[in-house]
Subunit: 156 residues, 2 copies
Amino acid sequence: MPRWLTPEEQCAWRAFIEASSRLLDDLEHQLQREAGLSHGDYEVLVRLSEAPERRMRMSELADQALVSRSRLSHAVSRLESQGLLQRQACETDRRGMFAVLTDEGFARLEAAAPSHVDEVRRLLFDNLTEDQVRALEEISQAVVSARREASGRSRG
Amino acid sequence: MPRWLTPEEQCAWRAFIEASSRLLDDLEHQLQREAGLSHGDYEVLVRLSEAPERRMRMSELADQALVSRSRLSHAVSRLESQGLLQRQACETDRRGMFAVLTDEGFARLEAAAPSHVDEVRRLLFDNLTEDQVRALEEISQAVVSARREASGRSRG
DNA sequence: CCAGCATAGTTGAATAGTCAACTATTTCCA
DNA sequence: TGGAAATAGTTGACTATTCAACTATGCTGG
């Protein structure tokens, strides 16, 4: 006997799916239009830009940018061919590679960021109270931690 | 001078991106494993199953399932070839088509739903208080309405 | 030491998604 | 009425993503 969702949960779930799909789609389109980047690519560049020496090991980058290793590998090849980053062999682990943000990549990111941030504000934060911003973070944290604990338990 | 995000908004934004990506990815994998359906396909089948006579015009279905018309058209072709639904010409508007859920499609959905719902509970609602569920819905509604008003304004 | 397992990352084929162009029909209104 | 514009839906080419297989290297216990 499956535990169904309560009516309140149903509503919340559908609202969440609609809001997050539309929000992410809109941001995707906006980034594509203004900067020729997908949201995934943008995340990759952001993480690199914040890393020491603007470089990061492939696996760590994949984890932080929330994409699979395979997808990152393809994405890095694309971004590399656009000159936005480079691969660099790791000297202490000969299996390893770094992705390094180029100046051009950094410039592209700097050009894309302001209008992207404006869009995030416009589509999300301008429509929320301070309490709602706090609630959004707490809800998100709860989801992320629960997932982490669950996978910790199943691995350990 | 771009309005940057406040530190609180930054945190909320990153937490939201991580939580929603992981949640949606997990659900996607679970549905794929258990029922051989993508989340998009699942949404399509759900909407059809709730429609009168289990059928719906392509455009309305696309709107409700939050996918582009082109994507729906491809998806319907796939699902049709799997026998989960059928296309049916509309008699009052000769441009129009209905997508109709087959018995097999309905059965597939019934088989997939319980474990999917369990997963939604487990990954999301089990980790939230009642207040948080309410907050999640209000936040989502706020985002969706703001977007609707904005596009209404730009269209009108 | 070294055999076996784990980890880092890549690849290519298969699948899915996007975008713009296209057909066919309907609606609007001068 | 008729012709422009809007709407419904499809298509195909291109791009992106996934999945499983693969190479290469590092680690670990007997």
